[in-house]
C-alpha cells in the first residue's frame, strides 16, 4: 500500500536538529513507507522550518500513544492553552 495521503498543520515553536535549535512553522503527517523504521508502514511526522526538519517514524500503536499523551498533557498541564478542548 502506498497511500500518498498527506496532511499538514501550521505550528509555531522550535525544533532541535542535534546541534542547534531552529524555528518551525509547519508539520506534515502521513502514514506510508518509512525511510528508516523497520516497518512496512509508519506514521511519519516532519516538522519543518524552512528547508530543515525534525522527523519521526512510528508504528501505528506508538503514534496513537504519543498523540493521546500529548493531548492528555495539554489537558492537564496547560489550562491556559488557547487550543484547549472545551
Amino acid at each position: 500500500m502506498c497511500t500518498h495521503v498527506t496532511a499538514s498543520a501550521r505550528v509555531a515553536g522550535s525544533g532541535y536538529r542535534g546541534d542547534d535549535w531552529f524555528p518551525v512553522d509547519r508539520a506534515v503527517v502521513y502514514f506510508d513507507h518509512p525511510q528508516d523504521a523497520p516497518l512496512d508502514h509508519a506514521l511519519c511526522v516532519d516538522v519543518w522550518g524552512g528547508s530543515e526538519r525534525v522527523a519521526i517514524e512510528l508504528d501505528g500503536a506508538s503514534a496513537r500513544r504519543l498523540a493521546e499523551t500529548i493531548l492528555a498533557t495539554l489537558e492537564s498541564s496547560a489550562p491556559e492553552d488557547p487550543g484547549r478542548r472545551r
Binding site: M1, C2, T3, H4, T6, S8, R26, V28, Y30, D32, H33, P34, Q35, D36, P38, L39, D40, D46, W48, S51, R53, A55
Partner: protein, 234 residues
Amino acid sequence: MADGMRAETITIAGHGGDEIEAYLAQPLDGDAQPGVVVLHHMPGYDRASKEIVRTFAVDGYAALMPNLHHRYAPGAKATDAAAAARAAGGVPDEQCLGDAQGAIDVLRARPQANGKVGVIGYCSGGRQTFLVACALDVDAAVDCYGGGVDPTLAPRLRCPLLGLFGADDQRPSPDDVAALAKALDESGKSFDFHTYEGAGHSFFSVDRPSYRLEAAKDGWKQIWAFFGRHLKGA
C-alpha cells in the same frame, strides 16, 4: 558475459529543461545495449533503488533513474528530498513524464544503445510507469505494485506491459488489478499480470519487512524474460 559496470550520478535535462540528477549504471563491455528507465518508490532516490539500477547493468542493460525529488531539495539526502517533495504536495504527473523523457533521451543517445528502452517502477513509480507507457515512446513497461493507476487510460497504452502485484496489497488491491486487466483486455492491449499469494506491497524491497523471497525471485525471473524479449530481442 562480462559483468563490469560504471555506476554514478549524472546530470540530465528533465521536465522543462530543468537540470536534475539521475543515477546511471552502464555495462563496461558490449554494444547493442538496451536501456531501462527506473522510476523510484515514494521513499525516493535511495540506496535500495540505486541497487536495482546496478542490477540491470549486471544483466547488460544501461539503466538510468531520474531523481524525481531533486528539484525539491537539490543536493540534499534522499530522505530529506522525499520529505520535501511530499510536503510540497507530491510530484506532478506532467513533471514526472518530462523527467522520464529526459532519461529516455539520454539512454537512446548512448553510442552503445540498441535503440530499445524499457521502463520499470516500484510503488508510486509503478503508477508513474503506467503513465509513461501511455504517453511516451518506450518499448516495454513493468509496473511493480503501482497503486492508484487509472484504468480509463488503458486505451492509450503504447507498449507491452508486465504487472507484478501482491495478493495481500491494499493499494493496488486485487480488485484494482482486476479492473486494470479488464480495461486492458477490452482495449486489446498486450499485458501479462502476476499476483503473488502471501505477498503484499513492496515485496521486492530486500531492506524492508515486506520482502517476500519467493515472489521477488519469480518477479525478477519475469522481468528478465519480459525485457529480454522486448528489449534484447532474445
